[in-house]
């Protein structure tokens, strides 16, 4: 069943059209990747789904409910959380406080023990966060900060996670670690929509993917099939540019 369904989304940034009728869906339990060049509109799609940018046209349906244009906090309550690009963690606060912040909408209504059992779970996925729980978040390495950002989003108990460029700015080995974590997150039952400029890594981890070009989707397929698509290889995987006759 489709958990997220996006229909013909059109979004403007000022006078500039960033999305030109984008439709996509994510089934429950899937990892779906959005790949495409810089400026193709990948992040805009996430921001529009999350209610950070209002669409001028189109529809977003989450879990059977139309949520087009709903503010981000309402969506978090419905089970849709975003991990923004650049992590945006709170540097002066401790790792633990950052994590608890992810559950802010639950802290009033739920018992503390619930939160702490979730915390246990997060620590089991990211043991490093437990080690560093008392440390100020600003002192973490890039990879650890990314794990914290994902962990914080998981504290809202999302049914679906939107990840924006989780590997950006990370060393290849660290990025690899992050992708492993994302696979784990899905294995624990969270559906994932992933925006990734590193198309190879994105396609390697995803079940299905969409290729975006200037605000439009030009291909949808199983990620493994897109990996062998020549157009995708040339444009995003850096293969085949030495063949010149056309």
């Amino acid at each position: 069943m489709a958990m997220l369904r996006v229909k013909s989304l059109t979004t403007y940034y000022g006078g500039i059209q960033a999305l030109r009728g984008v439709s996509l869906h994510v089934d429950e339990g899937e990892i779906v990747a959005l790949v495409g060049a810089n400026g193709a509109g990948k992040t805009t799609i996430l921001n529009t789904i999350c209610g950070l940018v209002p669409p001028s046209d189109g529809e977003v349906v989450f879990d059977g409910k139309t949520v087009t244009g709903l503010p981000a906090e309402r969506l978090v309550r419905l089970g849709l959380s975003q991990v923004p690009e650049g992590r945006q963690i709170f540097g002066p606060m401790t790792v633990l406080d950052n994590l608890l912040l992810g559950a802010y909408h639950r802290s009033r209504s739920e018992r503390k023990s619930n939160l702490y059992s979730d915390l246990e779970f997060i620590y089991s996925v990211f043991p490093i966060l437990q080690e560093r729980s008392k440390q100020r978040a600003g002192t973490l390495s890039g990879g650890e900060q990314q794990m914290l950002a994902i962990g914080r989003a998981l504290m809202s108990r999302p049914r679906m996670l939107l990840l924006d460029e989780p590997s950006v700015g990370l060393a290849p080995m660290v990025a690899k670690e992050i992708f492993k974590v994302i696979a784990k997150v899905r294995d624990f039952g969270t559906t994932v929509l992933l925006v990734e400029q590193n198309a190879r890594a994105g396609l390697a981890i995803a079940d299905r993917a969409y290729v975006l070009e200037t605000g439009k989707i030009i291909l949808e397929d199983m990620a493994s099939d897109l990996m062998s698509n020549k157009e995708v290889q040339r444009a995003y995987l850096g293969k085949g540019y030495t063949h010149v006759w056309e």
Binding site: A2, S8, S228, K230, E231, H243
Partner: protein
Amino acid sequence: MAIWNQRYETMAREELQQVQLERLQATVNRAYENVAFYKRLFDQLGIVPEDIKSLEDLAKLPFTTRQDLLDGYPYDMFAVPLRDVVRIQSTSGTATAPTVCGYTANDLHSWSELAARTLVSCGIDKDDVVQVYFGYGLFGAGFGFQYGAERIGASIIPVSVASPERQIAVMRDFKITAIIGTPSYALSVAELLESAGVNPRALSLRVGLFGGEPWSDNVRSQVEAKLGITAMDYYGLNELVSPGVSCECEAKQGLHIAEDHFIAEVIDPKTAKLVDAGCEGELVLTTLSKEALPLIRYRTCDLTSIDTSPCVCGRTLARMARVHSRTDDMVIVQGISLFPSQIQAILTEIEGTEPHYRMVINRVGASDSLEIQVEVSDRIFVDTVGKLEQFEKKISARIQSALGISPRVRLVEPKTLEQVTGRRRSVVIDNREL
């Protein structure tokens, strides 16, 4: 019976429509960006790809016709550079008006998936030993079934074109359980079995998939009775995929269309308007997954109707009625598609003037024969029988080399063919009971 792709073949209609919309938009985006023909057509009509906001908006888009494909011969309709194309198939007529279809590696991948669905839907599985009568040439059905059978793990024996005697020997020795070919060829195999005194029920035959020419339920019962098999129908087009567009299931109540790969519409062939749901008209297909040759609203010239009611087999895919007739004057003889215009072009080339001619198609037993009657004119007037025969042979040989079918050519007295002109399709007399 089994379903090959549970996910897509039994998808809820609402979900299917989402998949169709996504793939339609992506297809239109690619066609507009990469195919000059579509860019020009859209620009003329003032349409941009983002005008397609819902499946209903498909009706805003222009049609693609066989003529458009002919005009783009051979590569102009391709949406990818030639180096991405790993296979090219074409219709049989290579000299006159062939339509060309290219496939990327992914297209071949989808084709085998679709062929696998066709085979499984018709009751073939990994334990079957499949014999293919179709040729493995420019006409692609043999390849399609090959891929599909390999995908599902069946054993396939690409006997292809061989004498019926050889086919029968293979059928017996290899313990063939499933046969694939044209229904008329199956009938001629049945006849040969009969005359050789072989009881088909003593063989291992179980099921047959037939296509490549129209065939009635009457022919179906003949094939089933004579060979002791279940005879199933499938549908495809060389310009898209064949097999793979649609296929029967065990219910035999129409052919399930692979709607996650094609959107089917039915139009009135005269007005080009959509007909009411369930009514008969011309089938129009839009490809949703094709990379090399995306086609938008392709007019198939095949007459059918579409039924979206649930099917007992569990598939949610809509069904199209079996195709028995066409909107144009194409005829299929011995599995080869022919247009009178192709015959006319050859005769004109030989005679130097517009010929008066007629195509007569007969079925003797199970095999089709084509006779071409040509009126003798002053220009080709010859006085000896020998020269006449030579002339007939020359025409026949020319048609054979251009179209791959060997007709009997008969020269007739001037004015004898005139009385039939003026009626549509009058140049074709089809005496077969299809």
